[in-house]
């Protein structure tokens, strides 16, 4: 083994030129998420890191509890192992910069019994440029960019930030999204502004939104043919006693559902307001199931217990295949507002 010169010292492992043996070697080192990885061969790592304009030792994110730092170089190694192509790398860089924002609460959301996984939503022209999937089988499987970008996030959390399952990651039941949780916003049937536009980025700038997601709830409705019918189904899922909290929400409307909602002229803000009003439970019911917290109730200032603090806590995007009345609700991690979703432009620095 030899040492490389960098702020965070990286080690080179000399292994025989045998790819299958190298895959086994990665398992033996404890570098994987349980699935085989692409061995992080030096030239591939260098090609990955070359996609970032800043030097390899540039720090992208910090772990607030341990002080461990993520450099461009370390992210490049894990991106190679996940199977990423170099053109995906700017998404990963932006995602970790977004997760480094204090309000994302990087430590809690990755260590908690709650078992959240960072959901990445890529919005803008980059989706098509790097071949991401915003359509059928949105949450997977089947698309290399979606699958490997999400996987690289997990490998980085494990290898760089030491979020080791059972040791520092104390998730009670885990989450399939912890293997990979990355989607793209579908532009061709989105009647509203894209997430990147809503976030205020200039034309042509794509963004990644990161959200500590607690899981995935399929919202099926094939019979409802009005905005209210579709959105009542969604609101009911959002308000189920198992996950109602003051936390934020991500709602991914399928093309069939968004068509029903938008053909009657509903704006995204109207959808958010409707969902906020409808996604609620009575105080007595919250007390009955043992989930009433006086301080949270007062903080919200509503008669009933609603999901989130305001309509703007519900992020709405569009994605999925043309056929099927299947949308998705992604609840937030934690019982309260332990993590607030963040976003970052991809491949550009707006304030530089």
């Amino acid at each position: 083994m030899t040492q490389m010169s960098a702020r965070q010292t990286a080690t080179l492992h000399d292994v025989p030129d045998d790819l299958l043996a190298a895959i086994d070697y990665c398992f033996e080192q404890g570098w994987t998420d349980g699935l085989p990885v692409v061995p992080p061969e030096l030239s591939r790592v260098e090609a990955m890191c070359a996609m970032e304009g800043r030097p390899p030792e540039t720090v992208l994110a910090h772990h607030p509890a341990t002080g461990l730092e993520l450099t461009v170089h370390a992210l490049g190694v894990n991106a190679v192992m996940a199977g990423c192509l170099p053109e995906y790398f700017p998404v990963l860089v932006a995602a970790f910069e977004a997760m480094d924002h204090e309000r994302f609460n990087f430590h809690g959301s990755t260590a908690s019994t709650g078992g959240s996984a960072p959901l990445l939503i890529v919005s803008g022209s980059l989706v098509d440029e790097i071949g991401m999937n915003a359509g059928v089988n949105l949450f997977g499987p089947g698309n290399r960019a979606n699958a490997t970008i999400g996987r690289a996030v997990r490998l980085t959390l494990m290898n760089v930030f030491r979020m080791t399952p059972g040791i520092s990651d104390k998730s009670t039941q885990g989450n399939p999204g912890k293997y990979s949780f990355c989607i793209a916003e579908r532009a061709d049937c989105n009647p509203w502004a894209s997430l990147a536009e809503e976030q205020g980025y200039p034309d042509g700038v794509s963004s990644v939104t990161v959200f500590a997601g607690a899981g995935f709830c399929n919202v099926e409705n094939h019979g409802g043919n009005s905005p209210e019918a579709v959105l009542d189904s969604m609101a009911d899922a959002m308000a189920n006693y198992g996950c109602i909290s003051l936390g934020q929400s991500v709602v991914v409307l399928a093309p069939e559902h968004v068509n029903i909602v938008a053909r009657d002229g509903w704006s995204k803000a109207e959808v958010q307001t409707y969902l906020f009003e409808k996604a609620q439970r009575p105080v007595d019911g919250m007390k009955r199931v043992g989930k009433f917290v006086e301080g949270e109730y007062k903080k919200q200032g509503q008669l009933e217990m609603h999901r989130g603090l305001s309509p703007s806590d519900i992020a709405i995007t569009v994605g999925g295949g043309d056929a099927g009345g299947h949308s998705a609700f992604i609840p937030s991690w934690s019982r309260s507002r332990g993590s607030i979703m963040q976003h970052q432009p991809i491949g550009v620095c707006i304030d530089c």
Binding site: M4, R7, Q8, T9, A10, T11, L12, H13, D14, V15, P16, D17, A22, Y25, C26, Q29, W31, P39, P40, E41, L42, V45, P64, A65, T66, G67, L68, E69, L70, T71, A74, V77, N78, V80, M81, N105, H107, G108, S109, A111, S112, L155, N159, V160, R162, S334, G338
Partner: protein, 92 residues
Amino acid sequence: MKLVDPTVTSSQVNNRRAPALTTLQGKTIGLLSNRKLNADLLLQETAACLIRRHGGRALSMAHKANPSAPAPADKLTDLSPECDYLLTATGD
């Protein structure tokens, strides 16, 4: 072939254990709650038990603002000179 190690060791982190107390007799106890359900109760009872056995006193309970975020450095530096040892707890 040369494989690049995906793990890192940070030269910026220099954590080490504080020297162990030789006795708890008469010592001042700091209390830092994470604000989760029952955390305060757990800390109060533990401090009371230690005081019964070893004497000393407990400071007023300090709280983290967010149960799942690390304690702010200034909270720890404020507490540090005031107590001989600190109890913290994850109530739930």
